[in-house]
Subunit: 346 residues, 4 copies
């Protein structure tokens, strides 16, 4: 075990941080050496997360979210599981101290700083980091991830939207201005933060849309779709909150370019994801269900051609905390380290 890679989780008190811990407990190549949180300094991991009591790392004590303290643990890689807007406090210093950084926030995902400021309402701190970051979506950026020092993991909604669409746009099969998306997310996506809006008695037996028409995630979604299409792509996107703890279901409408045959859609997806361990293309009559992917790093995708309208319907599901956050981050780590992509994740 001595040759295991030493990793730290910065901001480990939230749902993504907890999920990182769960994965790292079972990861054969990595060794968790630091958990940080300003509120939880000195607490045992098993005390903070009772479900992990009695398991590996249960006795690890939280340390302060402090760059020097993290460096002192010998960590070689740091996962940043912080709220948006705070990653810059750690990413630069840790990189300069020689660590590799896998950031789960949105901070370094947007290459165009004006777009970032437009969507996030403030200029990016340490903007030069956005330029060197690699977008953390291993199905698309595997090669770049191998050498990445800073990974900006793809967000939860974006992952569910990008993976069905990117192969189709890359193959020039879709009309870029025809994309309409409706996503439903579980409440854990709002984080472990005390807000009345996310109380049980407010969310239970309730469905609602929010954040329209200009949700922040559109910035990275359109950046990546445009890259894939080779031309600007602007989409409609409506996120909804549904009463589940975990899971995202995304339904996407798009129109094939003139002359594209339905089977080309299936072929493009199959070619893109052949051998990709976490993308499952459903066959036959099966449609994706979030319960089949929650607590896993899988994304399940199905599609249908509607002869009545000539449009495609693409359906995808994932666990927002795994493939949409912690699992994605570990998948990136696996690629960065040259390990099996599924290491610790299957």
């Amino acid at each position: 075990m001595d040759n295991q890679l030493k990793v730290a989780v910065v901001g480990a008190s939230g749902y993504s941080g907890e999920e990182l811990v769960r994965i790292l407990v079972g990861h054969p190549m990595a060794k968790l050496v630091a958990l940080t949180s300003r509120q939880l300094v000195g607490k045992r991991m098993g005390h903070v997360f009772p479900k992990f009591e009695g398991m590996r790392y249960a006795d690890l004590e939280f340390i302060n979210s402090d760059v020097d303290a993290i460096v002192a643990t010998g960590a070689e890689v740091a996962f940043l599981a912080l709220p948006h807007g705070l990653a810059h406090e750690f990413a630069g210093p840790l990189l300069r101290a020689g660590l590799r950084v896998v950031d789960l926030s949105a901070d370094f995902r947007i290459k165009d700083l004006a777009v970032y400021e437009d969507f996030y309402g403030a200029p990016l701190q340490e903007p030069e980091l956005a330029a060197v970051s690699v977008y953390g979506l291993a199905e698309v950026y595997r090669e770049a991830l191998r050498e990445a020092k800073l990974v900006a993991c793809a967000g939860c909604y974006p992952t569910s939207i990008l993976l069905p669409l990117i192969p189709l746009l890359k193959n020039n099969l879709l009309q870029p201005d025809s994309i309409h998306v409706a996503s439903m997310s579980g409440v854990s996506g709002a984080g472990r933060t005390a807000k009345v809006d996310y109380l049980y008695a407010e969310c239970n037996e309730n469905i609602r849309a929010y954040g329209i028409p200009k949700h922040r995630h559109l910035a990275e979604i359109e950046q990546e779709l445009s890259t894939a299409a080779g031309e600007p792509v602007c989409i409609s996107f409506t996120p909804h909150l549904a009463p589940v703890t975990r899971g995202i279901h995304t339904t996407t409408y798009a129109r094939p370019r003139l002359g594209v045959a339905p089977q080309q859609i299936g072929e493009a997806l199959e070619t893109a994801y052949a051998g990709r361990p976490f993308v499952r293309l459903l066959s036959g009559n099966a449609l994706p269900e979030t319960r089949h992917v929650t607590h896993t790093n899988f994304i399940d995708i199905a599609w249908r051609h509607d002869p009545r309208t000539g449009r495609l319907v693409l359906l995808s599901v994932e666990d927002n905390l795994v493939k949409g956050a912690a699992g994605q981050a570990v998948q990136c780590l696996n690629v960065m380290c040259g390990w099996e992509e599924t290491c610790g994740l299957l």
Copy 2:
């Protein structure tokens, strides 16, 4: 109370039937004289529906679903709360016996018999009834309902989709081929039927789409949209099942016709629904939430114009068992009888 209208509920064992009973318990102008069910003959209503024990009608006993027996109760109006495909067994005979009929099923909603057969897989029984039925959506067909003998109540999904769109199509504000709909429904929509797919342990913590790309409700949705538009309208529609008991949330994308200003959208909706007691147009930043309409006959509607895409987003919520079924039926009855439209419903 002797001058109350005598009403029967045929097929009262399901969720819609139960909801009809709940409303009729509090209805000042109607008197429930018969509840029918083949399985429940002889059972007290309060025994079948323990939540109504101790209330009006709790001692009413179920009778067989038999036309003669229903007529013998003196019923003047019959609500048919039967599974699709069975209404014809009752509608014709009851009409010929002089009753007025409010059917909650899809059987008499479709005017074009070929469309009915295409979507429902079998020819309509008693097709001449479809010709004389009035589509039961009081916000649209109030005048026709006043004299209706047979009402084919609008379905749950259709109501949530039609009410936001019809005023816009009537006013020629939308491109008819631009409509994309994603709806989420609670599980009561599947009925009180013993199927593994609707078990708690299958539906809880799960979101999934179903019935695509050609859900049966498209037949009536497109019929009514086309009537409003004065030209054929063909839409994309994806229903989803979400873990709530009640409630439908519908998100609709549409593109305004060239030259339509966003405020025309709001004006058309406000004009259409001014004084309509069950349509609430949300103002300010508010977005619809199903919890605000469940257990009521309201439909809440909001809309946003997205300057990035030029598209509209229309959002609507209703209780699938009330505005989508039993409440809608009673609202139609109120109009048919010349009572206050809100009678027993507020």
Copy 3:
């Protein structure tokens, strides 16, 4: 409507306050003249509670929680729907200004000030009010409520525990030291307060006990049981949190006194609750289910004698926000005013 009683709801922003508003919207004898909240001053009721938009009182604006302002509205009765420990700021001044007060908090329920201090951790403010308050449980204190100036409404758990037991203890049928209670409550019982513990993602798919072995509600439960028994009664009580929004289910074990026949239990309950409109004693094989009472003021009760152990099992369900709070308060008001006990509640 001019001879309607003018009522105020103080602290109307929480779940109990909202439920009071819902009931008052439909109450024929009372007129809501004031809603108070320190956070919501100036907001329309329909804006704060969108589900009541378009209904009676939707345009009423919240005023500050200030005694003079409340008095100035002409209110004749004030409901206090405040967190525990704050009622004394309003109860005394409002009483002295001539209003009658119906308090939903625990502050004036405990007659023994030492017991209050023991369970609530601080001495009661305005202790003389506890002496004159009437315990707000109309099934037990109807006569005293008629003349009450200050009502201390029974709590949610206490109501579900007291109503099955009091008739049995009054009739000397139970061994007082044999009572063991396990209750399960929905999350709305924790109030509309932003705490991580009550987030959807913390409460969903989770069951846990809390507040043992000395929950605060024991003070009033044992006070009332002891009064009924004519001797001190000390019980075991474990509350649990279950993932429902509303509802309490209480299971109580008790041992009949030597020589008591099982049918005496049923007779005592039937005698006690004959003609009591909100207590439903279930017959046959039926067992209580919270869904049959949520959104109503009913409490459903069943009991079984276990010949194997010689013990009784008593089961009771109620809606914690209605029979356990707002409905109970209105039921008390109805008695105080000489109206039908069910007025506005059925």
Copy 4:
């Protein structure tokens, strides 16, 4: 992998069978060679359980539930995940064919055949098997399990009740006639069977008791408690259904024998479960929560002494499908085979 033990799962279509598959997918010492189901013959495992698609065994096809067919697969151990009353069709023949059998049903748990018949309403088939079976609760019967040919795995409710109580009864610390139990279970406990009572719309937002006062599980609970106490133990037990998919929470009241000091309770539990990998005794203020054990084989236990009543409160939680079924079965297998008790389970 060739020296892996070959195992079959008989009746693999239900929730326990599915959970066995999940565990076996990750079990390093066992190899799944047969899945049986009368309804699913010829279907791929990954098709039946889409969440396991793309994982180990996804291509294994279901075979008929037929003894010869099972034997022909070379299986050395068979798990029987059948409804109660069917295990005898497989247990005897498979044992005679030389397999070891781990039965998850109640059929062979009850040693006293008259008790079995009393609680299960019919005489046991192959009663001689009950005599040779070992009760499958590794924390109590580890030694006997090592040589067992037929294991009758402890039931879900029984496990949650027995593990807190057995050490206390063995040490003579409790009054045997003082035990009162209230348990809450998730809906998966009712199995994947199409019944209206377990539909989502019936169970959601609902809490109810059932099966009182003489639930079938009392037979095995009292058998094992009596064995531990060395004298007959008769208890009160009320199971409740709560709206969660998985998880059991059990609250048990018991009175210590005269002179027993509270710390003896803790010491007895700590001694009994020192080094037992799946029993976690909570310390400090922590109380068990089902979410901390669902999807794991842990049982979490806490206890409190109530000085007011002199009684103990014992609280325990487990996943009904894991520690209450499939995990328990694999834990027994691990002991039977001399493997690490946690093999494949942590």
